[in-house]
Structure formats: C-alpha cells, structure tokens
C-alpha cells in the first residue's frame, strides 16, 4: 500500500458549534496530486486550515506523516502590501524552514530565490516594491516563495483566482513539476475543466465528503448532482451530531454511503437548491 502523507480520521472542523467539514475520513497518499472541489462554503478552505493547524479539530484527527514540511498558500492572505519590502524579500521568507530566525542566507539560498523567480517568469522583478505588482504578479511571487520553501506537502487554496489564462498555464506547469518531484500537492479549485485535465485525483466536498478518488469518477454526473444539493447555510436548530446520530466504527465503503445518505437527507429536508 502507498505511504500516507495525511490521514483524516473522523475529522470535524468548524466554527462555533457548526461543522464546516463533517466527519471526514481518508488518506492523502505521498506524492499524490489532488484537487479539492466543492461549492462556496463546502469546507475546502476550512480543511486546508485544519491541515496546517490554524484551526483545531472539533472532533477526530488529522495526522501528518513524520518529517513532512508544509507550504501553504491561503486564499485570503494577510500579506501587507504597503509594507516596504521588495519582491526578493517576500520570496526569501520561504527560506525560513531552512534558515530559521538567525541562520545566514548563503549564496546558495540567494541562487534558489533567483531560480524560483525565474521559474515563475519574474526575472527582473527582484527589487520591485510589493505595492507596484499586479494581482497575477503577486500570485506568482507567492508561488516562487512556495518553490523556495521546498516542502513535501504543498497546499494551495484557490491559487487561480483573478489570474489570467497564460499565468494559470504557468502555475499549472509548476504544480505538475512538483507532482513530478513526488511532492504531495492539494489544490482548491473551481474550474472543473481545469481539474479534469490536470488533476489525477479529486476530493469533492459538500461539508462531508461526497466523493474522493480518480477525478473522472469523483466528478461524474451522479456525484456532481449530489454535491449540488448541498445546502450552504448553517441551521441554528440543526440536530446535535452525537454518537447516536453517527456511527464511528465503519469501514470506508460504509462511510461513503453513510455520508452520501446524510447529504441526501439534509438536501431533502431543505428542498432541492436551484442548480
């Protein structure tokens, strides 16, 4: 069996008492390239936050294989673009895992930064101030930082937002390069064509897992129809989820059906949403 990079065991993540990711089980294999797909509010970003540890699980666990470093590109960056820094300063932050607080940046490190900038097509941008970059240029700068981080697990949350077609192509090429280097990559994406063409595996989320596996199957008509019935809003009077309502001891096949059943029940209770 393939080595696990990430293992979710009955993972529930959320805000207040409302789950955004509900009882997720499964394994992300080492070296796999997975798209995370789902409607707004289906728990994609929440799952990413849970993996990096920015959000503590309400129940269950997410386990990372030993020694795996994470590079995480959040959907909503807290980057302060007015801070007086240059492109090269931002990309050099990616050296942190290797050099930490006090380690000197060597000539080799500077070469790695320059190489990363070249890989995203930003040669000549080294000394540009951050507030002079366009949205797509900034996104490529952040990809360069991910490159420099040299991590085993790469998490990208909607990296293609507001990025032009050519840049999407460049970024996809980088993602494929990481996949070729046997890094584990998870990418939150909305463009299903892009996912079908470029991602071998897909996790389809609708708060719970709707499907997870080979992209063609996961994004098949039946699963897509089921995901579309997902109701985004929280319900203040939703029943409490407890041991009686959910059976913890089950195998994967069972879990899959069980969750699908839950999603159906939820949808029929609220009436089907217009697609």
């Amino acid at each position: 069996m393939d080595q696990a990079c990430l293992t979710f065991r009955d993972l529930t993540l959320g805000y207040g008492s409302h789950p955004a990711v509900h009882h997720l089980d499964g394994v992300v294999r080492r070296g796999s390239l997975t798209a995370v797909v789902g409607a707004n509010g289906s728990g994609k970003s929440t799952l990413m936050k849970g993996i990096v540890g920015a959000l503590k699980p309400m129940a269950g666990t997410v386990t990372k294989a030993d020694g795996v470093r994470i590079a995480y590109l959040p959907q909503q960056s807290e980057l302060d673009r007015s801070f007086p820094a240059r492109v090269v300063d931002l990309v050099s932050l990616g050296l942190w895992p290797r050099r930490g607080l006090l380690g000197r940046h060597t000539a080799q490190d500077r070469a790695a930064v320059a190489e990363a900038l070249a890989a995203v097509g930003l040669e000549g941008f080294e000394t540009r101030a951050l507030d002079t970059l366009s949205g797509g240029q900034l996104q490529r700068t952040l990809f360069a930082r991910v490159l420099v981080q040299d991590a085993g697990l790469i998490l990208l949350d909607e990296p293609f937002n507001a990025v032009d077609a050519k840049t999407v192509g460049d970024l996809i090429a980088l993602i494929k390069r990481w996949h070729g280097e046997e890094r584990t990559v998870m990418v939150v994406a909305h463009d299903l064509d892009l996912v079908r063409h470029n991602f071998p595996e897909t996790l389809l989320l609708a708060r719970q897992r709707v499907a997870w596996g080979a992209t063609a199957t996961a994004l098949g008509p039946e699963n897509m129809a089921r995901a579309r019935r997902f109701h985004e809003a929280w319900e203040d009077d939703a029943p409490w989820c407890g041991p009686d309502a959910h059976h913890h001891a089950h195998d994967h096949g069972h879990a899959h059906h069980h969750h699908a059943h839950d999603a159906d029940a939820l949808a029929s209770a609220n009436g089907p949403k217009a697609a």
Binding site: V52, A54, E78, P84, W96, P97
Partner: protein
Amino acid sequence: MQTLYALLVAPFVEYAFMQKALFGSLLLSAGACPVGVFLMLRRMSLSGDAMAHAILPGAAAGFLFYGLEILPMTVGGLIAGIVVALGAGAVSRFTVQREDASMAAFYLISLALGVLLVSVRGSSVDLMHVLFGTVLALNNEALGLIGAIAAVTLASLFVFWRALVAECLDPLFLRSVSRLGSPVHFIFLGLVVINLVGGFQALGTLLSVGLMILPAAAARFWTARVETMCVAAVAIGFASCVAGLLLSYHAALPSGPAIILSAGAVYLVSVLAGTRGALRARLVTHRHRTA
C-alpha cells in the same frame, strides 16, 4: 566661527547637565526610533500613544509610595505598561476584538487610575514632572537605565529582526512556518513599553512617544526599505535631540517639548520635501516611458 561655536558646541562643553541630557536623549533615540518604525509599519502609531498613557498609573504608584524617585517610578511604569500590553495583546489574539479597541479599553482604564493616584497625593508641580519629564535633570542612575534599555532594545531587534519583519509583512505565513508569531508580537510590545518608560524620565509620559513615532513617520518619506528606514529614523532622532536641547538652552524653553517639536519640524519638512513626499509626487514631470 566663534558665534557658531558658542551657539552649537559651547553649551554641551561647558555644562555637565547639558552633556547628560544630550547623552541620555541620544541613547533614547537609538532604541526608541527603530521600535517606532515597526510600530508605524504595523499601523500601531496611535497604540504607542495609548501605551504611553497606560504607563501613568504605575509611575504614579511609584511616586505615591517613594516620592519623585526614578527607580520606583520606572519599575511601576514598567509593570503597568506590561500589564496593559499583555492584556490588550491577549484580548486581540484570543478573541474577536481587534487590537485598537482592546488597547483603547485597557489604556483608558489605566489612565484614569493614574490620574486618580497622582491626585490623591501630588501637588500640580509633581504632576507636571510625571507628565512632562525633566531631561535637564537626568542623573547617572537614569542614564544607566536608559543605556540598559537601549542595549536590550538593539540586541532584541538584532536577534528577532527576521521574525519582526515577517510578522509585519505576512503574519499568516510566519504562523505556518514557525511558532514565533505570538511570542515575537509580545516581545515587540515589551520593547515599546521599556522604551516609553525610558523616555518618560526625560520627556514625560505624554511626550516620550513623540521621539518614538515622529522620526519614524518622517523617515517613511525618505526610503522604501525597512533597514534604511530604521537608520534614517535614528539619525532624525539624534538631530532632533541636539536641535531641541540647543533651542531649549538658548531660548529658555522646556527641553522635552523643544526636542519633540524639533522632530515635528523634521516630519513636516519630510512630508513636503521627502524623496517620497507630497511635493515630489506633484512636481515630477508627467512624462512617461513606453514600458
């Protein structure tokens, strides 16, 4: 030449109190100005002012029990400042409230407590000392304290530089690669507090924040790099101290406000004439390149 000497150099050569005042205020600038740069870049300039007020009850408590003595007032101010910084920082880190609101809440409580304590015993002359400082009466004990604060500040900035920059530039990233995010924030707030406490001997609680913020705000108009901004802020701080003390000496003005007003003048000039200032943006020709 003679008059220039008499004007600029003689006061510092001839009077020991002027030498001490100069030495103390330069030491103060060396630590406080770079701290001010980071305070400004974190959009916390007004928090510096709030922190300066927050120190008051501690200093007042020291004054209440020991009279106008430097050490107890300093320790008291330090404790009050750290309580407020930790309280406000913790509320903003662990609840939905942002730091501006939590800082405002804590400093207002602190300020009211301070005014209460001073009025319990002090005469208005004492209150003036606490509020406006006495740079011309710095003794060796105070100089030692200011020197220690400057040394601790510069050493901390040197060690935590990379984390401080990362925490300002991209805090979420720092949290994803390191556990230093929260500690470095509190270390920074601690540096703000000790520098304000160091400053209140010389400049008073109300004005000490001026030497922190004004040179930093002025330096922003001259450079686009953090490193050079810190150096420029220190240079502006030094110049303001020398100019302020001379002004105070020759015109018989109170020294604290004279130093801060000198920094204020540099700020106003920088706003207009700085390489990144208002005039340059207006006056530069509207020619543009093809790419």
